[in-house]
């Protein structure tokens, strides 16, 4: 080896040494900067990614609150159920696992389809739990549990399944629950569980937040291969609150049975003749598999449809609120079958419609108390004012008929209500004018929404001059006043509004509003502001409807010394009757096709002497108010007062 100095290389080497040192310094500097960038500047982002690797979080659904009736009977509760869950990660062979599971237990094809949909829509690589089915029987669980070693990727979950022990009886009130989807919920929770359920209608929807409680979170620590190393509760769940509603399920159940029957008879389906008859009849909805209804002409008929509401006139609590035909909310707790859903949706009688609150009907003669009160309050008539009814009222070119073809003769207000004379109210309407009638109707609760715990109410229509001008740009005509005076024409009300109207008349002092909650209306209602004498007079005339010799509902007295009901019948034409038809003589209701029959209405309250409950019965295409609706109301009151 020779010494460098001899070679005079010092200069070159020093230069190169220096250049290479700069290069090395640059490289190390770049690495240092890179680490600074990764670990200091972008730390948050990578921390999140690392967290995503390390943990997966699962929402734990809290136990949903129960819905109870006024006597603490269960309307909606939870049942234990078992779910099968796949601990998915990108390394497992889903097809094979499912195939193996299917060799042990059966899984509904629909569940499998949903499962594969979930698998395919999986847009990231992070391990997570995916629901296979939630309809696992105890037997399936034990079958799988025995061989759990073969299925390390699946696990069981105890879940709660919503159930409604009352079934069809209060379906419209409780509503139902369904899978969460972003578009139909206002809440901002974003669960990654595929089995979260939220209220979709009725009380379940209205009180969804209270019933749902607070979600907990479970945190699993997973390896890159998807094995769960540790699992812990990250956030505790808080169970939902129970909701107590004002309904009396005993009454509700009785009312459903009584209402569906109407004036028809119950016959066993096992009877051979009936069987043959059923085969011939089309469009029959079976209430259950044992009985069908048979009308007076021995035809197999559907259960009556319509609505029945009973309301406490003191506090506005609804103790019975039915809409027929109903539906069983339990079908939504299992995965809803498409056929069942389509049947519900396309059924001509619209079982999903809550007629009590969303159904609108012309009130017919049941509105006459409001017209009378408008006249009395405005001082247009007194108790003794009489009009003459000869069966029709001519106005200009057109003739307005009374339901009694030959007329009622000369009668006063109390007799006009008792006999439901139309001509009397035509005269009254003309004298009072539509605007004043409309004001009174609104004061009595028509044409408005209430603060009831169920959404999707209808507002109904209380027409007046301005309303028509706004809607059609047309002048109000006198004929329309006449129609409105007997509850036809533009006038539309919901059964709930009619019940409220009757409750306010029966109460006499306060503007009662309806509620489904117990003890909600502790504060006094607003004053009704109607002369009590007038109210008493109207109430007396409503008593005469049931008790009077000529009363339209006199056949349906309760007949008890303690309790009698008061009320008003209403029969609503659904098809216009032409003069020609009238000449030929009217076809009886039961001879018309169902859709063309009149609606039967009855509004009333009981006990007549000391009112406690208001009632509305609306039987769609039920014939006449006096023959179909009134007996139902009577039987309901008989049940309530146990007489």
């Amino acid at each position: 080896m020779k010494s460098i100095s001899q070679r005079n290389l010092d200069k070159t080497i020093s230069k190169r040494f220096f250049l290479l040192s700069i290069f090395k310094g640059g490289v190390v500097g770049a690495i240092g900067w890179r680490f600074f960038d990764l670990q200091m500047i972008e730390n948050r982002r990578y921390e999140k990614l690392s967290d995503n690797n390390q943990f997966n979080y699962h929402m734990i659904a809290p136990e949903r609150g129960r819905i109870l009736d006024r006597k603490m009977r269960l309307l909606a509760g939870n049942m234990d159920g078992f779910s099968l869950v796949l601990n998915w990660n990108k390394n497992i062979n889903v097809e094979l696992i499912i195939k193996n599971i299917l060799s042990v237990i059966n899984i509904d094809q629909k569940d499998l389809n949903n499962f594969y949909k979930e698998i395919n829509s999986n847009n990231n690589d992070f391990a997570k739990e995916i629901l296979i089915t939630k309809n696992l029987s105890q037997k399936d669980v034990s079958k799988l549990a025995v061989r759990s070693i073969e299925f390390p990727e699946v696990s069981f979950l105890m879940t709660k399944k919503r159930f409604y022990p009352q079934g069809i009886i209060a379906g419209h009130i409780t509503g139902y629950i369904g899978p969460y989807s972003e578009k139909n919920t206002k809440t901002k929770i974003k669960p990654n569980t595929s089995w979260l359920e939220v209220g979709k209608s009725g009380l379940e929807k209205f009180f969804d937040k209270e019933l749902r409680g607070k979600f907990g979170r479970k945190r699993n620590e997973v390896t890159s291969k998807g094995h769960i190393v540790a699992s812990q509760i990250y956030e505790n769940t808080i169970s939902g609150n129970d909701i107590q509603v004002s309904l009396d399920m005993g009454l509700q159940a009785f009312a459903v049975e009584r209402f569906e029957k109407g004036n028809n008879a119950l016959v066993s389906i096992k009877n051979e003749n009936i069987k043959k008859q059923i085969e011939k009849t089309k469009n029959i909805n079976f209430i259950n598999n044992d009985y069908v209804y048979k009308d007076k002409k021995n035809r197999i008929v559907n259960p009556e449809s319509g609505s029945l509401i009973v309301m406490d006139i003191e506090n506005g609590e609804l103790i019975c609120c039915l809409s027929s035909p109903g539906y069983d909310p339990n079908i939504f707790s299992n995965d809803l079958d498409v056929n069942v859903w389509n049947n519900l949706k396309n059924n001509s009688r619209a079982p999903l419609l809550n007629r009590s609150m969303s159904g609108v009907y012309p009130p017919g003669s049941t509105i006459k108390m409001a017209v009378a009160l408008a006249a009395l309050e405005n001082g247009i008539i007194d108790y003794n004012t009489k009009f003459f009814c000869d069966g029709a009222k001519k106005l200009g070119e057109s003739t307005f008929h009374c339901w009694a073809k030959d007329g009622h003769g000369k009668l006063n207000l109390i007799e006009a209500i008792e006999q439901s004379c139309d001509v009397y109210f035509y005269e009254l309407g003309l004298k009072v004018g539509i605007d004043k009638i409309a004001l009174m109707m609104k004061r009595l609760g028509l044409g408005q929404y209430y603060n009831v715990e169920i959404k999707n109410m209808s507002k109904g229509v209380v027409p007046n001059i301005e309303w028509k001008l706004k809607r059609d740009g047309l002048q109000w005509s006198m004929g329309e006043t006449l129609n409105a005076s007997i509850g036809q024409g533009y006038l539309l009300t919901t059964p709930l509004q009619l019940t409220t109207m009757i409750a306010r008349i029966a109460n006499g002092k306060f503007s009662v509003t309806p509620t489904l909650m117990v003890n909600k209306n502790k504060n006094r209602f607003k004053d009704l502001n109607i002369n009590p004498q007038h109210i008493d007079f109207i109430k007396k005339s409503m008593e005469r409807v049931v008790k009077g010799n000529n009363g339209t509902a006199k056949k349906y007295q309760i007949g008890s010394k303690k309790v009698e009901m008061a009320g008003k019948t209403g029969t609503v034409q659904v098809v216009r009757i032409s003069e020609a038809e009238r000449e030929k003589g009217l076809i009886k209701n039961e001879d018309r096709p169902w859709k063309r029959r009149d609606h039967a209405l009855f509004v009333g309250y009981a006990p007549a002497s000391k009112p406690k409950y208001a009632i509305t019965v609306v039987v769609e295409h039920g014939g006449s108010g006096s023959s179909t609706a009134a007996p139902i109301a009577r039987d309901i009151f008989k049940y309530i007062f146990k007489v």
Binding site: M1, L9, R34, F35, T223
Partner: protein, 375 residues
């Protein structure tokens, strides 16, 4: 070092030994041991808090290697000068041999007495030695002539290409880069360097064709890891996540979730620095890089100070080898360089690279002690 040789101390063997001990560069030794122990601790963590299967072995190899290093340090450096040609030939022979008797699916190892030995690692030292010896004999005038570089280029590319064809792109490139750096260091003309760059750049398409598919993949995925986030890009993505999530102080020793839950592939070998970064954070990473820098700078200082060209080139080469190891490995795990299978010396699990750097440092220490002696 202000040590002035004193004739009195050079009399007996005992005094000779102590004078040599005194001349040892302790900064280098302390850095080495520190890095080795960091390796042991990291491997303990990589095994989920277990001495088995890596940490114990690593510790044993470390002790053995340091012992070997001290032996080399006390040997006069002329031995290395004399052995350089022989070691190179043995190295090349074993590289050829590994083609036939190599174990492992990529023919990198030779099994010697129950120990797996990777000739390509040892080749690095042999290359440094033979280049140093060659240039030590070339006169100043001839250094300006390009023909003086024909033999060194052959000496560089022979083992380089042999290793790349194993195939082991990372080690092969390290060998070639190391050799070229030495040529640059001794003063190859700048014009030639620039010319070479141009030739290299224009031959990229040709080289690309020669690469194996998995090597092409690695480069493509390096340019865009998201291209294959589950396949070959997976490593680098997970590695970056681990490093980035470490933050300034790290997740804590033994607490790295990415490594603990097996998101890091090769966490005990090539990607061990990722584990350190995740658990000890930015400060830990920088601390280790700093120790490496101290090591490299200390070796470079020796190279700068020694008088003979042979010693200068050897010390430079070994210092540069450290630099290459560090920058390739760390650059790779943080996504600055493609994944080319480069270990982090002293820390990564694997005997050959550990032994290689310890032998290298042993030689440097020997040079530091004996340089004043006439070869």
């Amino acid at each position: 070092m202000n040590y002035k040789p004193n004739k009195f101390y050079e009399e007996s063997f005992g005094t000779l030994f102590f004078s040599k001990l005194y001349k040892l560069n302790f900064l280098i030794i302390i850095s080495l041991i520190l890095l080795g122990l960091v390796g042991v601790a990291s491997l303990y963590s990589a095994a989920g808090g277990n001495w088995d299967p890596w940490a114990t072995n690593h510790l044993i190899r470390l002790i053995f290697g340091i012992f070997l290093m001290f032996i080399l340090a006390f040997l006069p450096h002329k031995i290395f000068f004399k052995l350089s040609v022989l070691s190179f030939f043995i190295g090349v022979l074993s590289l050829i041999l590994v083609k036939f008797v190599g174990t492992g699916n990529v023919q990198r190892w030779i099994t010697l007495g129950g120990m797996n030995f990777q000739p390509s690692e040892a080749m690095k030292i042999a290359l440094i030695l033979i280049l140093a010896r060659y240039f030590d004999h070339v006169s100043r005038i001839e250094l300006d002539k390009l023909k003086s570089y024909i033999l060194p280029l052959f000496l560089i590319f022979l083992p380089g290409i042999l290793v790349i064809s194993q195939p082991d792109l990372g080690t092969g490139l390290t060998i070639i880069l190391l050799g070229l750096a030495i040529l640059f260091f001794v003063g190859i003309s700048m014009k030639f360097v620039i010319l070479c760059f141009i030739i290299l750049a224009s031959s990229v398409p040709f080289i690309w064709k020669q690469l194996y598919d998995y090597q092409k993949d690695r480069i493509l995925v390096f340019l865009n890891p998201e291209l294959d986030s589950l396949g070959s890009g997976y490593q680098i993505i997970q590695s970056k996540i681990a490093i980035g999530s470490g933050g300034i102080f790290g997740k804590g020793y033994l607490l790295g979730s990415q490594s603990r839950l097996n998101y890091l592939p090769e966490k005990h070998t090539d990607f061990i620095f990722t584990l350190i970064s995740e658990e000890l954070g930015f400060l830990g990473s920088i601390f280790i890089i700093l120790i490496f820098c101290i090591l490299i700078i200390s070796i470079m200082k020796i190279s700068f100070r020694v008088k003979s060209l042979f010693s200068k080139i050897v010390a430079f080469g070994i210092g540069f080898l450290f630099f290459l190891y560090l920058s390739l490995n760390v650059g790779m795990v943080c996504g600055l360089l493609p994944v080319v299978g480069a270990p982090l010396p002293l820390i990564s699990y694997g005997g050959t690279s550990l032994l290689t750097v310890l032998i290298g440092v042993g030689i440097v220490l020997s040079i530091n002690i004996h340089d004043k002696e006439i070869v």
